[in-house]
């Protein structure tokens, strides 16, 4: 069947000579192109050709800006998903029964198009519905898909496309098996198991060591109570500028915080707890009276200072808080 694409392309080549191709011809041309490599990479001219009316096919065109100059993180993140979607769609629909062309127009190839559409952000996905034929839509205007919620997965876009293409086949998204990941996982897993077996006699005392578990527990408690999960869930910035070129370590507002802020708070809690532990456990075990009273004063002082500092920071977060301890009033 090698001759079929060649034949079709030859047909198309003759077709280009004609001033205006029929919609059937255009679809065949783009479908052939997409069989060769998908999504079809568009230029200025064939974008207009693809979207010209009348058309009896649907065109899904992703307008994106992949060049590093534009610094479009979202475009680059979404591109593999879009490639995956179009590949699996074309693979499942070689005959072109769904009459859908998936194409990409990069900003560097079609600057005018972006201008004429008045686009200020990328990526944007346009779906040009057919204007003639059995699935013709009332308006030739494209349906726009904005990536408001960050990069979408191929399945989400697939669902969106399927919704707008009723009564047509929707080849499902097939993710290729990630062999590297599987091999990597297997190797790592067996390596870990081997290492665990070999190191077991050495690891066992550590696992059974009460100090290690105490340390792990305390650190996790300090992390959780200082708002670490908030950082994970909300993805807050680590620090932020204060608008005058400096760094502001503490977010304003009671319901807000920065990554660094929580670490400072966790450290303060840690110092306070450790001082309390030291006063309870360590100090009564010091046999020398002089050293003991020095230790009491040191730990007690550290506790007092740190608590005072903590209260002062809490007053920053909650402006109406009335309580304070001496050094940091």
């Amino acid at each position: 069947m090698r001759w079929l694409p060649a034949f079709v392309s030859a047909l198309c080549a003759t077709g280009t000579l004609a001033a205006k191709k029929s919609t059937e011809q255009r679809f065949n041309e783009f479908h052939t192109k997409s069989l060769a490599s998908t999504p079809v990479k568009l230029l200025d001219a064939n974008y207009r050709e693809l979207t010209s009316t009348p058309r009896d096919y649907t065109a899904a065109i992703l307008l994106t800006a992949l060049d590093a100059r534009f610094g479009c993180q979202l475009c680059r993140e979404f591109q593999p998903e879009w490639d995956l979607l179009s590949k699996s769609w074309i693979k499942g629909d070689k005959a072109g029964e769904s009459r859908l062309v998936l194409a990409t127009l990069d900003f560097s190839d079609g600057r005018e198009i972006f201008m004429s559409l008045g686009l200020q952000t990328a990526p944007v996905l346009f779906l040009f519905p057919p204007t003639t034929g059995p699935h013709a839509a009332a308006s030739p205007e494209p349906i726009r898909y904005d990536f408001v919620n960050g990069p979408q997965s191929a399945e989400q876009i697939h669902a969106w496309l399927s919704r707008h293409l009723p009564d047509r086949p929707h080849p499902p998204v097939k993710r290729p098996i990630n062999w590297i990941k599987w091999i990597f996982t297997t190797v790592m897993l067996s390596g870990t198991v081997t290492a665990a077996v070999v190191a077991w006699p050495y690891v066992l005392p550590i696992i059974q060591n009460r100090n290690v578990w105490a340390a792990i527990s305390l650190i996790s408690i300090l992390l959780f109570t200082s708002g670490h999960m908030f950082n994970r869930i909300r993805g807050v910035p680590y620090v932020s500028g204060d608008g005058r070129g400096g760094i502001s370590y503490f977010a304003s507002g009671f319901q807000n915080q920065y990554g660094m802020e929580t670490q400072i708070v966790a450290a303060m809690y840690g110092v306070l707890s450790f001082a309390a532990i030291a006063l309870t456990i360590k100090v009564p075990r010091i046999a020398d009276p002089k050293a003991q009273s020095v230790a009491v004063l040191a730990w007690g002082g550290a506790l007092f200072l740190m608590y005072s500092f903590l209260l002062s920071i809490f007053r920053v977060k909650n402006a109406g808080y009335p309580f304070a301890l001496p050094p940091f009033m």
Binding site: Q120, V148, W160, R163, R210, N211, W213, A214, S217, L218, S220, I221, L222, F224, T225, S226, G227, M229, F230, R232, I233, R234, F254, Q255, N256, Q257, E261, T262, Y269, L272, S273, F274, A276, I277, L279, T280, I281, V283, P284, R285, I286, A287, D288, P289, Q292, S293, V296, L297, G300, L303, F304, Y307, L310, F314, K317, N318, G320, Y321, F323, L325
Partner: protein
């Protein structure tokens, strides 16, 4: 509780009796103080005069020299608290005049909750359900079908709620009636939460006493539990919610579990199961116990601490507790189906295997036992795993319910369930909230957990596991701060009491007895214990050291009490229905729009007029205005909520048929623009759009509510979709008539509104409250002349309808 009384009686003949009785008195004082502080949760400043009578009281036990210093200190605090609350109550009574009980109850009832963005108003529903229970009896209540909510669907209420709370207050009501004490069910509902908080303080005392030999730790834990803001927030008078009794049940179940585990006693295990069953009947948070107890058992097994005590306690609890929990219709067969109950079942099976192995080991020689063990363990594990996989994939085991799943995968709720993400109580917790709710306990807590590692008995493992588990969940969800608070109080009390025990000891060691290089037995104990406890305890030498630390601790404790008082009076006593604000001159100004509007609905609308509002206000409308609602806070039907969201966020022409189909008579919106009240519907509007978009992605699009530059605006720059949405129109209708032309301003969003306000055609303004917080619109009936509403409204405004007839051209004769 009876155990303590028995102890008192038993030790009455011995020298300890005075001490025990005194401790008991202190404990009841603490419980009383905890109750009182919630009743009058408007505690202002603690009057200094309370201190003088205390000092004289304090000197008595020290003369006898029988009490440890700490006991004195805790007595001081208990009495301080009690005195403070009595002082406050007196001040309150003189201020208000001479209010009758019902008045002060009504006052307390309003103080239900801290206002977050979404005030949840479950108390209103619970109150309504309790009234129904008391009026119609238990069996009617069980089969209650409520047709006044979720119009037109209705709700099978009896089968979809946790009845524990209502049954508790119903039982109290009937008990009091039997004692010929006439009391209104309303008063019982209002006072239930404070009463149970006293019991919680008592349960915390019992739980802590299981952990440490120090007699004062329990008292401290009771004090902490009594006044920690993290718990007060849910137990002030009038917060008639499931949590009100559930926290007591939680702590008490844990106490019974520890007792059962320590003694290996089936009796305590049965009691534990009974209270667990009560807990299941009361609160959805019972899953916390269901997961924590197996986890504790599992950790104990992993540490090689399997014992028959554990076997007896766990199997008794699990078998009876599960049976008890399955008696609740709402729970039903969940304990054997859903994944969050699987750990409990798994550990139950695992313990059977361990018990079996234990038996086999005693029967056959050890070498054969090794082979047997490996084969047996491998086989069982493989079989169990295969069964789990098969059952899950075949659908016998339900997938994790959304609310629970969002705890583990923190991104889950945001993507899949906007309705869960929209509730402010399901948000993660920022650190100020921890400090706000726990104050100095937050740093005593890790110290207490560390002390638990000192002699790590089974019950100490429980505290460690609970601390880790609880702090993780409290970090993920603000609401679960409530389940963390008990363990924080217990651990902090252990830490504070051992600190004070060390420094408030009259005896000082003698320096000669303890040579500085005493290091002989240190290495031996260092193997198993903590590194820091390898040396022997000497004691504290100087009075200076003792004085410094004791003084500093007193300052911290005082600060803690002041903090709790401040938090309670500022944050948690401000009711969600009545807003309080300060005038420029410092006087208090009460904003009572909600009640005004609900009263209006009650008096001016038909008995069965259907009210459409966003679901946050459903329970309030049902409870206070007594009118059927479309959606309420029980969010079981996402599509129905999305329907309301769609009606709110679409154009009038789209919304009107939806409202007609649902027989809506009135629409209620909350608008804070005039007053600067930020919890209004325009700020919640995006959630309505999102939830509606989840069901009708083609008709409602979130993108269209943002300007091309991605801003959410309400002023002249707002998008057309925004300006035409029903919610926007209802919020700003006629709003610019309050201002000079062109000056209309929204004080929440700080934006100037367009000069021409929106116009409404299918609904008409019926009521607007004093501060414009609540606006109620009446849905118009169909037009008498059969016109559509837009042209009818245009006609009323004096715009003549264009005669379509003229365009039609000359008349033609109809030919068949």
């Amino acid at each position: 509780m009876s155990a303590d009384t028995l102890q008192v009686l038993a030790s009455a003949g011995k020298g300890e009796s005075t001490r025990t009785i005194l401790r008991f008195i202190i404990l009841s004082l603490i419980a009383g103080a905890a109750i009182a502080s919630r009743l009058f949760s408007v505690i202002r400043k603690c009057p200094l005069s309370a201190g003088s009578q205390l000092l004289s009281w304090q000197s008595r036990p020290s003369r006898r020299g029988q009490l440890s210093g700490l006991l004195r200190l805790s007595a001081f605090w208990a009495a301080l608290l009690t005195a403070a609350s009595f002082q406050v109550s007196r001040a309150l009574f003189t201020n208000v005049g001479s209010p009758s009980l019902s008045q002060s109850c009504a006052r307390a009832e309003r103080q239900s909750r801290m206002v977050a963005d979404n005030p949840l108003v479950d108390p209103w529903f619970n109150f309504r359900a309790t009234k129904y229970l008391v009026a119609n009896g238990f069996y009617k209540f069980w089969d209650w079908f409520d047709d006044r909510t979720w119009h037109p669907l209705g709700r099978v209420t009896g089968g979809t709620l946790y009845p524990g709370l209502m049954v508790t207050s119903g039982a109290i009501y009937h008990a009091l009636r039997a004692l010929t004490i006439p009391v209104d069910i309303r008063n019982i509902c209002v006072l239930l939460a404070p009463a149970f908080s006293g019991l919680t303080a008592f349960a915390a005392y019992l739980l802590t006493n299981e952990m440490t030999p120090s007699p004062s730790a329990g008292l401290l834990a009771a004090i902490f539990m009594g006044i920690a803001p993290g718990y007060i927030s849910r137990s002030v008078a009038g917060s008639y919610d499931n949590e009100a009794i559930a926290i007591f049940l939680l702590v008490f179940t844990f106490f019974l579990w520890i007792r059962a585990l320590k003694q290996g006693s089936m009796l305590w295990g049965v009691l534990c199961a009974l209270f667990y069953g009560y807990m299941v009947a009361s609160w959805g948070g019972y899953a916390f116990i269901t997961c924590l107890l197996p986890l504790h058992a599992f950790v104990l097994i992993c540490m090689g601490r399997y014992s028959t005590r554990l076997y007896v306690a766990y199997t008794t609890w699990y078998a009876l507790g599960t049976l008890a929990s399955m008696q609740i219709p709402f729970v039903g067969f969940l304990p054997v189906k859903t994944s969050e109950h699987m750990p409990a079942l798994g550990i139950f099976g695992f313990l059977q295997l361990l018990a079996f192995l234990d038996y086999v080991r005693s029967a056959i020689p050890s070498r054969q036992f090794q082979t047997f063990l490996w084969l047996f363990a491998g086989g069982t594990f493989g079989l169990g795993l295969a069964a789990l996989v098969v059952a899950t994939s075949a659908g016998f085991i339900a997938p994790w319910s959304g609310r629970f799943y969002s705890l583990w995968d923190t991104g889950y709720a945001k993507i899949h369930i906007p309705i869960i993400a929209s509730v402010s109580e399901h948000q993660p917790t920022a650190w100020p909230a921890f400090f706000f709710d726990l104050n100095m306990l937050i740093w005593l807590f890790p110290a207490g957990v560390y002390l638990c590692f000192q002699n790590l008995a089974d019950e100490h493992v429980f505290i460690v596991v609970y601390a880790l588990f609880g702090s993780y969940f409290a970090g993920v969800m603000v609401r679960l701060m409530l389940t963390l608070t008990p363990v924080v109080c217990v651990a902090a009390a252990i830490s504070a009491s051992s600190l004070l025990d060390t420094y408030l000891n009259v005896k000082s060691p003698n320096a000669e007895e303890h040579p500085a290089d005493d290091n002989t037995d240190g290495k031996k104990s260092g193997k198993t214990g903590l590194k820091s406890t390898s040396k022997p305890v000497v004691g504290i030498y100087g009075w200076l050291s003792k004085g410094t630390v004791a003084g500093a601790m007193t300052v911290y404790l005082l600060l803690f009490v002041m903090h709790c008082t401040w938090v309670t009076s500022n944050a948690y006593s401000s009711p969600s229905v009545v807003l309080a604000s300060r005038m420029p001159d410092g006087s208090q100004h009460i904003i009572d729009d909600y009640r005004e509007a609900y009263q209006w609905l009650r008096q001016n609308t038909k008995e069965d007029a259907k009210i459409m509002s966003w679901w946050d206000y459903g329970y309030q409308i049902g409870g206070m205005a007594d009118r059927p609602t479309l959606v309420d806070n029980n969010t079981w039907n996402n599509t129905h909520i999305a329907t309301v969201g769609k009606a709110m966020s679409s154009r009038e022409e789209v919304s009107y048929p939806i409202m007609r189909q649902h027989e809506v008579d009135y629409v209620l919106v909350v608008f804070g623009g005039l007053l600067g009240y930020s919890g209004d519907d325009i700020n919640k509007f995006l959630w309505m759009v999102r939830i509606a978009e989840g069901i009708w992605p083609d008709e409602v699009k979130e993108r269209e509510f943002f300007t091309p530059r991605g801003e959410y605006r309400v002023d002249g720059e707002a998008t057309e979709t925004m300006k035409n949405s029903l919610m926007y129109k209802m919020s700003y209708y006629n709003y610019n008539s309050l201002f000079p032309p062109g000056q209309a301003q929204d004080r929440v969003r700080q934006s100037r509104l367009p000069e021409v306000g929106p116009s409404l055609s299918t609904i008409e303004e019926a009521f607007t409250s004093e501060n414009w917080i609540i606006r109620i619109y009446k849905v118009k009936d169909l037009d008498n002349f059969g016109r559509d509403h837009a042209s009818a409204a245009a006609f009323d405004r004096g715009l003549k309808k264009k005669k379509a007839a003229k365009k039609r051209g000359p008349r033609q004769l109809r030919v068949d």
